[in-house]
């Protein structure tokens, strides 16, 4: 009997194709909106997660000054030097690798090709801290580091623009007026924290200090924390050490900042989650409106089909069967709307994901939930009109014009 009712419902929907479509439009849009929002939101969360992890896990970035810049007002905070790096390496427990960084920018030239990029002066500890592997060649030897030799390891973006697919290791190119030999190439990493991580040339720090910046300053120290240590305790140990070395006493504020990538990851993930939830909630409201749309049309349909209901009752349909018919009609309609909404969401997310630069992550759970929810909306909002139909008096219903 239940099957028969479904057949009846489908017949009825087929008979009023346009009206049925308009009825479910609200559900279609609601489901599509919810699923699109949540899917893209999940993609955004995953993208943020990936970017954060590509910065290196459990890394503390130490910079002079407060905040992200060098600190406004007051005397400028001095850069670090190699002695600070060595002190952290030797005196702080739980430090896996300490990589100093000195940066310069310049145009790299090879034959007719040129490319504006950033030169990163550091030590071999950088590769350990970043967990960055090479796609070819080798990293610096201690001798090269010590001597500040003009050797370099290039990122894949630089490699592409200077060498265009040719063998790079062993070749030479010029950056500013320094000629340097390529000894290694980095594995491609892609976008990270809003910048192309592969657009870099890595040289021994002494080479950069001597040939580019002309001083021994270190702009940035990167500390990789041993996994068995709490990054917070390592952070405070480094803070205490640097305060001492920089002669900051009492209540005086630090003139440097230590930035924990784990923190930014948590913050960013938290905010994308909230965004997803808010957008999902807005979309859910439209789903609710869609449900009210179904109830509206079903009520109109009951009035319009009063005579038909009278015929069915006269022929011998019991109240329960009429109720079931209208309820099933509402549920079939709503589920159909849900299904179309899911398809629409699939198309929308596949099309939109590349545009807003997040990965497309198909989440079967949200699809199932949205579908079940649309069917439930059919039951909830279909029940009232169905009960109204079932409680009609056959004589009055037959007389209805």
């Amino acid at each position: 009997m239940f099957l028969t009712t479904i057949v009846l419902a489908i017949r009825e929907i087929r008979r009023h194709l346009l009206r049925s479509f308009l009825t479910i439009l609200g559900i279609v849009i609601g489901v599509a909106a919810v699923v699109t929002m949540v899917t893209l939101g999940n993609g955004a969360t995953a993208a943020v997660q990936k970017q954060i992890s590509s910065l290196g896990a459990n890394i503390l970035q130490i910079r002079p000054g407060q905040g992200f810049g060098r600190g406004g007002g007051g005397p400028q905070a001095p850069d670090f030097d190699m002695a600070d790096v060595e002190a952290i390496q030797e005196q702080v427990a739980g430090v896996k690798a300490v990589a100093p960084q000195a940066q310069a920018s310049g145009v790299a030239v090879r034959n007719a090709a040129n490319w504006s990029t950033t030169v990163n002066g550091t030590t071999s500890a950088f590769f350990t801290a970043q967990q960055w592997t090479l796609s070819g060649g080798r990293i610096f030897t201690p001798a090269e580091e010590q001597a500040g030799k003009a050797v370099c390891i290039i990122g894949s973006t630089v490699q592409q623009n200077l060498f265009r697919g040719e063998q790079a290791v062993g070749e030479r190119f010029r950056i500013r007026d320094v000629s340097c030999e390529v000894i290694g190439t980095l594995t491609a990493r892609g976008q990270g924290a809003g910048a192309d991580q592969d657009d870099t040339v890595i040289m021994p720090i002494k080479a950069v200090q001597r040939r580019f910046s002309g001083n021994r300053n270190i702009r940035n120290i990167m500390v990789a924390v041993d996994d068995s240590y709490e990054s917070a305790s390592v952070q405070s140990a480094i803070q205490a050490l640097l305060r001492e070395r920089r002669k900051i006493t009492g209540a005086k504020q630090d003139d440097f900042n230590i930035f924990d990538t784990a923190q930014i990851s948590e913050t960013l993930q938290g905010s994308t989650r909230i965004m997803t939830a808010v957008m999902g909630a807005v979309a859910a409201v439209s789903l609710l409106v869609g449900g009210i749309g179904i109830m509206n049309i079903m009520l109109v349909s009951v009035t319009e089909r009063t005579r038909e209901i009278g015929i069915r009752l006269a022929i011998g349909a019991v109240a329960r069967e009429v109720l079931l018919q209208f309820l099933v009609e509402a549920v079939v309609l709503a589920s159909l709307g849900g299904l179309i909404g899911l398809l629409l969401a699939l198309v929308a997310t596949i099309l939109l994901a590349p545009v807003i630069q997040v990965p497309f992550l198909f989440d079967p759970r949200i699809n199932l939930i949205a579908f079940a929810f649309s069917a439930a909306i059919g039951i909830v909002f279909g029940y009232f009109p169905a009960r109204r139909a079932a409680s009609l008096n056959p004589i009055d219903a037959l007389r209805h014009e």
């Binding site: 009997m1 028969t4 009846l8 017949r11 008979r15 005579r307 038909e308 009278g310 015929i311 069915r312 009752l313 006269a314 022929i315 011998g316 349909a317 019991v318 109240a319 329960r320 069967e321 056959p394 004589i395 037959l398």
Partner: protein, 233 residues
Amino acid sequence: MASEPIIALRGVTKTFGSGPAAFQALKGIDLDVAESDFVAVMGASGSGKSTTMNILGCLDVPTAGSYRFKGVQVERLDRDQRALLRRRYLGFVFQGFNLLARTDALENVELPLLYRGEEKAARRTAAMAALAKVGLADWWDHTPAELSGGQQQRVAIARALVTNPDVLLADEPTGNLDSTTSLEIMDLLTGLNRDLGITILMVTHEPSMAAFARTLVHFKDGLVEKVEEGVAA
């Protein structure tokens, strides 16, 4: 009459509304209908014939009195039980045909079988057979809009017949039809009564249609005025 009548009304009254606005449509009806009879119910509008038909069709219950249908006290049944009684034993033909719009003849005729839970193949066979009985086998895939009034009424009769009912209740079946078509419909009903032994109760106000019936029941002011038996052959 030898056997028990299929329909027996005793002291049936029906009052609509309550208090001072109450209106008594039936004031105490006694009526017996024998199995396989063809009864024409006549009377002016407001005489109570439609109310009586509704009660006979188990669509309504009397305010007082008893209605015995095939030995069952109908007034004691609830709404759904009466629906099951209609489904099992009764067929309805209305003045306005009351077919489902945008639904072809076959589906219209199948409808009562659907509620009986018949299989699709059985439904189809029975519905086609019923359409053949009313001479519309070739028109099964036409919707009411594509059929003439007479054809629509035939489809309605086929729908009433498809369950092999014991009693066919026809409320002015020819009221919306011209005289030639009306005669065809009456021929059809007479044939069903004669060949299949279906008990027919028909409301009409046209004496020419009532002439097809075997028994005439005249209503007046909520009472049975007179019963003429054996008027037609």
